[in-house]
């Protein structure tokens, strides 16, 4: 008689051996395990909130794969992609370029759990996470490859992380740090618990809903399929946090507070513009802020409360940034559109503007006034005055423009001189993160450092675009060719009727 899963599950999951030919400290170095001063037997309490066997895993994943492939094939035959709104398509370019390689980086992170996590339970579960992330990478690549014939921008699913495109550098900088370089414990807190359990909801649930409404069933289906895996393996963060709260709660608080802010800034860039500006107006489900409040902030507050953690000291500032950060990132990315590999939608026609004002009551006085000047320049034919003339200065922590976390009212100095060099930050929060571990962040050479170091030649916009790998066929421009600005042209005076 076959045993039931529960009869053998723990024996299988806990399979381990006592190393005798090598020092255990060498086999599981603390720099990789992240166990720090936590006693070895403390990890016996690590219990995952879900149970899965390899047999179950393969069966379920096979069904998911079949579903995604069937939908994709059917829609390709129906020519659905060709009917999509171009602004929505831009969101999929942005997503594929910015996340495909992050999925691949996550394979490495999960592999580290398999090899170095401080308990065999976690090491065994890491195998499923590793397989999940491999699937996600392959899904993105397959989706993008199928659409290459429609648009060369889908090539950036694979290419982006091999370029110096500034947005990609910001994303890569974060995930290099919390996925590829972090020990298992920190990776579980920053990536599993913060990014995967919290923020991926905004990209994979909210954006999936918008994509479905926009008629992009294939992409929506892909996002939803990925999220079912994320929701499972993200839970590796909970037992890790539980052990840490028992033995080193200060570290838990610090790691989560840093990871939450860095994630928030990143998703203001990745998801905020796509939801509030690229998704066609009539197909928007909720605003970015509404989704954040429902899907991310409620989750995070519950985690903090359940595990006895405090809200980050910057919580009120973070909530305030929900009204501004992504609007600034949107204005900035649109302004720097030649430096993008997708075509941004300005998203400020009169109807869209009414929606923005309804969702964000201070939008008009804060962002509308800046767009008014841009609109005037567009309608007067001064497109050159709506294009970059220099580079924005980037934050030494987030690699995003100074000022882009808040409104123009908060654009102010957050500067630090460290070892003889000036470091600029987008906020006192990012500066605080940096000062916790300056040696961790100080060595990074950002886009501006490389520009000043002579790596970008010629030292002008054309040189910067070439350095970023942007070629004419993918270089960003206004997705509607500025047609939205005509909303603001004064109606022509009616011709005077002459009596005959």
């Amino acid at each position: 008689m076959l045993l039931n899963r529960d009869d053998w599950y723990e024996t299988s999951r806990d399979l381990n051996w006592t190393v005798s030919y090598v020092d255990p400290a060498e086999a599981f170095p603390k720099t990789w395990s992240g166990s720090g001063d936590i006693p070895e037997n403390a990890w016996d309490a690590w219990e995952e909130p879900f149970r899965v066997s390899y047999r179950d895993y393969v069966r379920i994943q096979r069904e998911k794969e079949s579903g995604v492939a069937a939908v994709g094939n059917a829609l390709a035959r129906a020519g659905v992609y060709e009917k999509l709104d171009p602004a929505h398509v831009s969101a999929s370019h942005l997503h594929m370029g910015m996340t495909c390689t992050v999925e691949y980086m996550a394979v490495t992170m999960q592999s580290r759990f398999c090899r170095f996590a401080p308990t065999p339970k976690w090491r065994n579960l890491g195998v499923f996470g590793m397989l999940d992330e491999t699937r996600h990478t392959q899904l993105d690549l397959r989706f993008s490859h199928d659409l290459l014939k429609q648009d060369p921008r889908f090539d950036w699913a694979q290419k982006a992380f091999h370029t110096n495109e500034w947005g990609v550098v910001a994303v890569k900088n974060f995930f290099d740090d919390v996925m590829l370089s972090a020990d298992c414990v920190e990776a579980a807190l920053a990536t599993s618990l913060t990014v995967e359990h919290g923020f991926t909801n905004i990209q994979f649930v909210a954006l999936a809903a918008d994509a479905m409404a926009a008629g992009d069933i294939n992409w929506s289906n892909l996002l939803s399929s990925i999220q079912t895996d994320e929701a499972r393996h993200a839970q590796q963060g909970f037992p890790t946090l539980e052990v840490l709260m028992e033995h080193d709660p200060e570290r838990a608080q610090r790691s989560l507070d840093v990871a939450f802010w860095r994630s928030a800034r990143l998703f203001q860039t990745l998801t905020g513009p796509a939801m509030d500006y690229y998704t066609p107006l009539e197909q928007r489900k909720m605003s970015y802020k509404e989704f954040m409040l429902e899907w991310v902030i409620n989750h995070h507050e519950r985690i903090l409360r359940d595990y006895g953690l405090k809200k980050p000291w910057y919580w009120d500032k973070f909530l305030y940034s929900l009204d501004h950060g992504h609007h600034c990132m949107h204005l900035g990315t649109w302004w720097y559109r030649p430096t993008l590999f997708w075509k941004p939608n300005a998203g400020v026609s009169k109807d869209e503007r009414a929606w923005l004002n309804e969702k964000y009551p201070t939008w008009e006085e804060t962002w509308g006034v800046l767009w008014d000047q841009i609109i005037e320049n567009v309608n007067d034919g001064r497109i050159e005055d709506t294009l970059p003339q220099t580079l924005p200065v980037l934050c030494a922590l987030t690699q995003l423009p100074l000022g882009s976390g808040f409104s123009p009212r908060e654009l102010g100095e957050n500067q630090l001189v460290y070892q003889g060099r000036v470091y600029q930050f987008d906020s006192d929060i990012s500066k605080w993160c940096f000062e916790l571990e300056p040696e961790r962040y100080a060595g990074h050479l950002g886009v501006i450092d490389r520009f000043l170091g002579g790596e970008i030649q010629p030292p002008d916009l054309a040189g910067a675009l070439a350095w970023m790998g942007l070629t004419p066929e993918v270089m960003g421009d206004d997705v509607y060719g500025y047609r939205w600005a005509r909303d603001y042209l004064e109606p022509a005076e009616p011709a005077m009727r002459t009596e005959s």
Binding site: Q389, P392, L402
Partner: protein, 82 residues
Amino acid sequence: MFPITGAFQGDAWASLIAVDTEDTIETVGEKIAAVSVGKRLVSRAGGPGYEVLLNGEVLDPQTTFGNLGVLPMQWFEARFRD
């Protein structure tokens, strides 16, 4: 060329501004304004120019930039002169 971080009050982000050590502060203000005013901020035609602030203090417009002795990428703010 000397790189500074320039932010014009009311604008959304700070920009990389290349100044010359021989520039006066008046010129530095104009260089910071050039990437913001008339681009995202409404210009004030025939206005009295711009003030430049360092560490919150308004600088003398006739001071030569090189005499300030600042590090590369130092934060400077500019604003319309009232």
